[in-house]
């Protein structure tokens, strides 16, 4: 009991945010429920981003009824690689990544071969709502498969590494690089076994990593060091993340971005309830940073001022950046 109290105090001193705190003080406070469909539905997010001129992976097609499954060929026949996703999926579930073809089969990112019937069954499952948040009917979207920048080859196992940035009222407060592992099956979700690596907000250089709530410095599959890697086009990532506030209107979000070798930084999806493992990856609590942003916002409100995305990025980079590796 006493030990727990001690841990409690230590966590609080370091500004570690718990789920209850995140829900009560940030998610419920800054995220208006009416705006959730905008981020929960990836098709809506994509349409809005395109309208605002923000870079997202190309949309090949949307399937919303069983009948439309027969139109799958029209979307994928000319393409080797593509991704099938549930529009309202949660936690990366139900996503199928096809890298190329073999005969009349499709090769997934993990190397297994699927027939056309398998793809259609997957889409059918998506439509019935198997992967959607509330279990209700969903739509499937087929989109461009991101080809990860070669920089990640050494520290990633299959799949596409992505960058998660927590954004509070348009201020990016913490960033993390998520690296798929053999265990995560090519997916970049931490609870599935992917590695989270903290990223310095100012420079874009990676810090230590977290894997299954433990602190690590090497990728378990490639054994390359995950820290000290300079992410290319970091300014582009930060600008994209900061602009997401205007895009969706939600005050506290996790922005998932990828770096495509041809198209540069792209927004993959937005998350209205971003996870908390990013704190372990950065070896830093979220609460101190979010509180600092809230104080800054209160100051601005007093002066009747507001900042644009560029100024917001500069503010957080000056305050939270340049962390020693």
């Amino acid at each position: 009991m006493f030990a727990f109290l001690k841990t409690w105090k230590a966590l609080q001193a370091r500004g570690i945010m718990g789920i209850n705190r995140r829900n009560a003080d940030y998610v419920l406070k800054y995220n208006d429920r009416r705006l959730y469909p905008g981020v929960d539905d990836k098709i809506t997010t994509k349409e809005r981003a395109l309208a605002a001129g923000i870079h997202v992976p190309d949309l090949y097609g949307v399937i919303s009824t069983e009948k439309q499954i027969s139109r799958l060929g029209a979307f994928i026949d000319a393409r080797d690689g593509f991704v099938i996703k549930p529009a309202q999926g949660a936690g990366g579930d139900g996503i199928l990544v096809i890298t190329d073809r073999f005969e009349d089969h499709y090769r997934t990112v993990s190397g297994s071969l699927l027939s056309r019937a398998d793809l259609e069954h997957q889409i059918s499952s998506i439509l019935t709502g198997l992967y959607s948040l509330g279990g209700h009917r969903d739509r499937a979207l087929i989109e461009y498969r991101v080809k990860p920048d070669p920089i990640f080859r050494a520290i990633s196992y299959e799949g596409v590494p992505d960058i998660r940035i927590i954004v509070l009222m348009g201020y990016p407060v913490m960033a993390m690089l998520r690296l798929p592992t053999r265990q995560s099956g090519g997916k970049a979700n931490l609870h599935q076994g992917a590695i989270g690596v903290g990223v310095d907000l100012a420079t874009g250089i990676t810090l230590q990593g977290t894997w299954l709530n433990k602190i690590i410095r090497k990728h378990p599959d490639t054994t390359h060091a995950v820290d000290g890697v300079q992410l290319p086009d970091w300014a582009g990532f930060m600008a994209l993340a900061a602009s997401c506030y205007e895009l969706c209107g939600l005050g506290y979000i996790g922005v998932d971005l990828v770096l495509d070798e041809e198209k540069g930084p792209l927004i993959l999806e937005l998350n209205a309830r971003p996870g908390l493992n990013i704190q372990i990856a950065n070896d830093c609590g979220l609460a101190h940073r979010t509180e600092a942003v809230e104080r800054h916002l209160a100051e601005l409100a007093q002066n009747g001022a507001s900042e644009n995305a560029e100024e917001r990025v500069r503010f957080t980079q000056s305050l939270f950046g340049h962390v020693g590796p």
Partner: protein
């Protein structure tokens, strides 16, 4: 945010105060017992009248029955007699039942049955009685003996009470020659009472015989004779043999006066025997039963005024918030992971049918079998709804098989699964299998174990009888519970699981320091 917090605090305070206030009012003002263990004795008295009827003459049996003045409440009274007319009437504070028949022959048995309990109320009604009477004329040696006895009694007494007490003491001193003379060799209580009456009448002190029954179970009894006298305010009761004063609480006054208990015309060899037994009854139910006789208005607007069948449903229903509260604590304070939010509560309700250990075994067995079926169906690439239907049907068949097998093996418990909610099981299987595929077997097991743990805890808490009674009787405690839930709605602290999850931080700290 601050005004919202204040709003919430006021709301919580109002709810808790309201809940505590109503519950306090029920307990302290209405006097509703706090636990079900508070029971009252319920007495079942059978008086059996047996006699031999004389053929060809009308039969008339008259027997005193308790007047039930104010100390006891009659819950049920019945006169069991074949072919006899029954008539009850009140005479001078006594009640008398008259059984009559045109003709009867042979052995006759009549029953009088009374179910009664002590009355709650403390206030005593005003009683009236005589304070003076004329003395019985005496002469000869009896007068001399009486005077000789009364002189020292007068000497040793101060008022009516002590006078009677002293008289009884003297009369019970059988070595006294005067007493011997008055008793005339018969020292039965009845005779003693007669002598006491005689002595007191000389002193103009009124006296009445009281015939009582002792409320004690399974003991053959005959009415016990007591004497009573009115002192202007109250009746004073005396035991004619010991001089003991005051009627013990377990005595029921059957009748007063000098007459015999039973009188038969047209019959002989009458014999009355009493059988008493008692049962305990919940004080609330008792109050409800005696509704007409007592002031049980407080039950008018409680759940107890519902029909019994509905009451039983509500007894389960009022416990659901308690189960939900357990889940709330387990999930938000401890951080236990469960399948779905309220699935554990539903499983806990299902455990009601099967009991805990058997329920867990059954749940695990059916879920395990269902999971293997589900993984087989996965290969067939079925759509969700048909697949769920197949699993559900399989669950039903499995439950039927288990019931049949356990019945053949003589395990009656197996039959209780009939109402084990199949839909809950099906959904559990479906969700568990999805979790298994996506998060791995280890995680699925963890979640399943968490669900079972939460369900078991909720079940255990939801089936504590004292708790069910308390919540059912004082539903206002649910308001307090809502207050707690509201407070939990803005709980910002860590979950117990997070203290373990983020342990990396503290270890790092210590290493650095």
């Amino acid at each position: 945010m601050r005004s919202l917090n204040l709003h919430l605090k006021i709301l919580i305070a109002v709810l808790v105060l309201l809940g505590a206030g109503i519950t306090g009012y029920q307990i302290f003002v209405l006097g509703i017992p706090v636990s079900e263990d508070e029971t009252d004795d319920l007495w079942n008295i059978d008086a059996k009248v047996a006699f031999i009827a004389t053929p060809n003459v009308p039969v008339k049996v008259q027997m005193y029955v308790p007047p039930l003045a104010h100390d006891f409440v009659s819950l049920n009274e019945s006169f069991i007699s074949n072919n006899y007319g029954v008539n009850v009437n009140r005479i001078d504070g006594n009640r008398k039942v008259t059984w009559s028949a045109r003709r009867a022959s042979g052995n006759q048995t009549l029953y009088y049955r009374l179910v009664l309990t002590k009355r709650y109320s403390q206030d005593k009604p005003k009683v009236k009685g005589p304070v003076f009477r004329d003395s019985v004329p005496l002469d000869g040696p009896e007068k001399v003996a009486a005077d000789a006895l009364l002189a020292p009694i007068r000497q040793h007494s101060a008022d009516v009470e002590t006078f009677i007490g002293e008289t009884i003491k003297r009369v019970n001193n059988l070595n006294d020659d005067n007493v011997k003379l008055l008793l005339g060799g018969d020292s039965s209580p009845v005779h003693k009472a007669r002598v006491i009456d005689l002595l007191l009448s000389v002193a103009h002190v009124p006296l009445e015989r009281v015939h009582t029954l002792r409320l004690v179970a399974n003991m053959p009894q005959v009415p016990e004779l007591w004497l009573r006298s009115f002192n202007g305010n109250d009746w004073l009761y005396f035991n004619p043999e010991t001089g003991e004063q005051g009627l013990p609480a377990d005595r029921l006054i059957w009748w007063t006066g000098d007459d015999n208990l039973v009188a038969v015309e047209g019959g002989k060899k009458v014999l009355v025997s009493f059988t008493l037994n008692n049962s305990e009854m919940n004080a609330i139910r008792l109050a409800k039963l005696t509704d007409e006789n007592t002031d049980a208005d407080f039950l008018e607007y409680s759940l107890y005024s519902l029909p019994l069948q509905t009451q039983q449903t509500f007894m389960i229903m009022v416990m659901i918030p308690i189960g939900v509260w357990v889940i709330l604590i387990l999930r938000n304070l401890i951080g236990l992971q469960t399948l779905g939010t309220f699935t554990p509560v539903l499983i806990a309700l299902a455990f009601r049918e099967t009991q805990l250990g058997y329920g867990i075994a059954l749940f695990s067995l059916i879920t395990a079998l269902g999971l293997s079926l589900r993984s087989y169906l996965e290969h067939l690439k079925l759509q969700m709804l048909p697949r769920l239907s197949v699993v559900l049907t399989f669950v039903v068949v499995m439950i039927a098989t288990i019931s049949l097998l356990s019945h053949k093996l003589g395990l009656e418990r197996g039959l209780s699964v009939a109402l084990f909610p199949m839909v809950i099981l099906t959904m559990t299987i479906e969700r568990l299998s999805i979790t298994w595929e996506e998060r791995g077997g280890g995680y699925a097991m963890k979640v399943a174990a968490g669900t079972l743990l939460a369900a078991s805890l909720a079940h255990i808490l939801m089936s504590v009888p004292q708790m069910i009674y308390f919540v059912f009787t004082f539903p206002a405690v649910l308001l307090i519970l809502v207050g707690f839930m509201l407070a939990m709605g803005r709980y910002r602290g860590y979950r117990l699981s997070e203290l373990i999850r983020f342990k990396a931080f503290t270890q790092d700290n210590e290493a650095g320091a």
